[in-house]
């Protein structure tokens, strides 16, 4: 798939339609997000590990006023771009999405709801895919079990802000998690449960289930459980699934009465 993608991107670059390509570059055995501006560099392009490319696009579009870029996107990246566009954080007219599917192993690791973008440019998407129901075990718990579970999990937090920093949907300039009114400075672990509750709530209708927060967590807190449960709630309460439909708005931001 990698060779095929490189050929596809070379063609795209030759067409002169885009000023550059946002993708991962392999360097000394590591990968980093990179803006490929020249076809000769494409040899170093790589696809793994998974990286929140939407954040890169957001920062880059901010920098440069008019140029158009191509961006190599997985399913989650596309969902993130859609949600960011709804909040005026990226201009989709300035991006050409080059969709790539995830393989089964990767999709399973993320418990991804849809491990492929709407248009797959290179590669073949998984024909049959059903994500693991990671919320099931928690929904079945009694209230006191849940509380004990989270008390134990969230006590492992060392407040590195990794979950927030890795999240493609966390773009606020002033973050409530840094506001001493809610989260006391210099206290470890952060007071239970406000730190993680603020994050979970702010991501309601926003989280696109990419799993970056959980991957970033050095303490292995199952953050995606909370996010997934709230994603399900948003669908159940409002029929809203974040990352889908360019026109659908997060009902928490609209002024309509709840049905």
């Amino acid at each position: 798939m990698e060779q095929e993608l490189k050929a596809h991107l070379k063609k795209l670059m030759a067409s002169g339609d885009v000023a550059g390509i946002i993708a991962l570059k392999s360097e000394r055995g590591m990968a980093k997000p990179y803006l490929f501006a020249d076809a000769s560099e494409l040899e170093c392009l790589c696809l793994t590990p998974k990286y929140p490319m939407a954040s890169v696009a957001r920062l880059l579009l901010d920098e440069d006023g008019a140029a158009r870029f191509a961006i190599v996107c997985r399913g989650c990246d596309e969902r993130a771009l859609r949600e960011l566009a709804k909040r005026h954080q990226v201009d989709l007219d300035r991006l050409v999405i080059v969709g790539i599917p995830c393989d089964e192993e990767m999709a399973r690791e993320c418990a991804c709801p849809e491990p492929f973008p709407s248009v797959v440019a290179v590669g073949t998407k998984l024909e049959q895919w059903e994500a693991e129901d990671i919320g099931a075990a928690y929904r079945a718990m009694e209230l006191d079990e849940k509380l004990a579970f989270w008390k134990h999990q969230l006590e492992k937090c060392n407040k590195c802000y990794g979950c927030r920093n890795a999240c493609p949907m966390c773009f606020c300039k002033d973050c409530e998690l840094e506001n001493a009114l809610w989260v006391k400075h210099g206290r470890l672990p952060p007071e239970f449960p406000i730190y993680h509750m603020i994050r979970a709530f702010h991501l309601a209708g926003k989280c696109i289930a990419c799993g970056e927060c959980q991957r970033a967590c050095p303490s292995d807190i199952p953050l995606m459980v909370l996010n997934t449960l709230l994603r399900e709630d948003m669908e159940e309460l409002f029929g809203y699934v974040s990352g889908t439909g360019a026109d659908a708005e997060n009902p928490l931001y609209t002024k309509e009465e709840m049905q």
Partner: protein, 143 residues
């Protein structure tokens, strides 16, 4: 000395309807249990998730939010925003292991002193049955 437990309820009341309703209850000399600690806000939509969670974290057994009836919001659509926000927040509390009945949203108009008193009566009883908030107990351990 054993202290008897009484439910602590933090109440966020909107200035235009529910707070005036509570005022009405007071000036009409209606009786209702003294468990609620009222905080007046300009609109129920001023209440964000942080405030509610913080109240629970600091030892509230329940949180009450009072706003204007649908269509009556002084700011046109504030109460609709509150309604949706609280619906999601109740789910989040449940996922965390807090009984969602501990967070209640009611519409009380400025003329409904009686409804306010009745609601407080009901709510205080309900919370008393639920017992102390487990989060408050956890917090005491920390302190």
């Amino acid at each position: 000395m054993a202290e008897t437990w009484n439910p602590k309820i933090v109440g966020f009341l909107c200035n235009w309807c529910c707070y005036a309703g509570a005022d009405m209850a007071g000036t009409s000399r209606m009786k209702y249990p003294p468990n609620i600690r009222i905080i007046r806000v300009m609109c129920s939509s001023r209440i964000n998730a942080e405030m509610v969670i913080k109240a629970f974290q600091m030892g509230a057994d329940a949180v009450f939010i009072g706003g204007c009836h649908p269509g009556d919001c002084h700011y046109v659509d504030g109460n609709y925003r509150t309604q949706k926000r609280i619906a999601v927040l109740r789910r989040l509390l449940e996922h965390l292991g807090i009984d969602p009945r501990r967070l209640r949203l009611e519409w009380v108009s400025a003329a409904e002193g009686e409804k306010f008193a009745q609601t407080m009566d009901e709510f205080a009883k309900e919370v008393a049955e639920l017992g102390p908030s487990p989060l408050a107990a956890l917090q005491r351990e920390v302190l």
